[in-house]
Amino acid sequence: MSKTRKLVYFSLFVTLATALGFLETLLSNPLPLPGVKLGLANIVTLLVLYLYGLKEGLVVSLFRVLFVSLLGGTFLAVGFWLSFSGAVLSTLVMAGLIKYVSALSIIGVSMAGAVSHNVGQLLAASFLIQTPYIFYYLPFLLLAGIPTGLVTGYLARLLLRYFQGKDFLIINEK
């Protein structure tokens, strides 16, 4: 696969993830809790992880966080670091599960990703936001990740089936 072709595909994935991520900042939150959202952009991260791998997934999710923060004007603000930590942790957890726990389907991986995203955000918040009781939010964030992960997991499964039939997308020619 040529470098140009790879660049084009990754630009498309980053754009798609950014559009979904930004769309979500415009929607009102389903629950009045910081950090709880559907996580539509995670669909793209999941697809990239399944189609390519960890490195590619990390690149796409980090660029997405960067671009969404630039669009929303939150670059380098507290909210940016929360999203950044959530994205890194969830991408690592999902990639690890895909590699080592093959008995999990994309739905289980998505669920674990959603929960670890919320936990990652809270861990970052415990450093960045000076309050002794940050874990007040923990149970809600844990529980909220389950349904949101299920929904995005089902959506990602539908798309993955479609993409896997298209061999033009395969970049790693091993």
Partner: protein, 124 residues
């Protein structure tokens, strides 16, 4: 969903519910007075002691994005108005027990009830 997916779902659900049970125990208690601490951009800007029957009062707090209005009544405190886009802090409503916390991430305002300085119903 595979069997393993279902096990993961169940496991996460149990952990979440256990955390919720612990949460009820840790974050809900009766008090005679609540020490409310308000931080903006990482600094403590207001410390208030609330007692039962306290009249309604409103405070203007300068956050990163602009002015927020914090309201207190009796032992309770809430974010009444905030300039943030998501309004999560406003929707959260009243808090009234030690350790409960309202965080406005975009405006960098934190409101919490300090457990050490609040008098609980038994010792108070």
């Amino acid at each position: 969903m595979t069997k393993t997916d279902q096990k993961l779902l169940l496991g996460l659900l149990i952990i979440g519910l256990l955390a919720l049970a612990g949460h009820r125990f840790y974050f809900q208690s009766q008090t005679q007075s609540n020490q409310v601490i308000i931080k903006a951009k990482g600094e403590v800007v207001q410390t208030l002691t609330l007692r039962a029957g306290e009249p309604l009062q409103r405070l203007t707090i300068e956050g990163k994005k602009g002015q927020a209005i914090v309201e207190t009544k009796g032992l309770k405190v809430r974010m009444l108005e905030a300039p943030c886009p998501d309004q999560i802090c406003v929707q959260q409503g009243w808090i009234d027990s030690p350790r409960q916390t309202i965080i406005c991430v975009p405006n960098e305002i934190v409101i919490y009830i300090d457990a050490e300085a609040s008098l609980d119903g038994i010792t108070g």
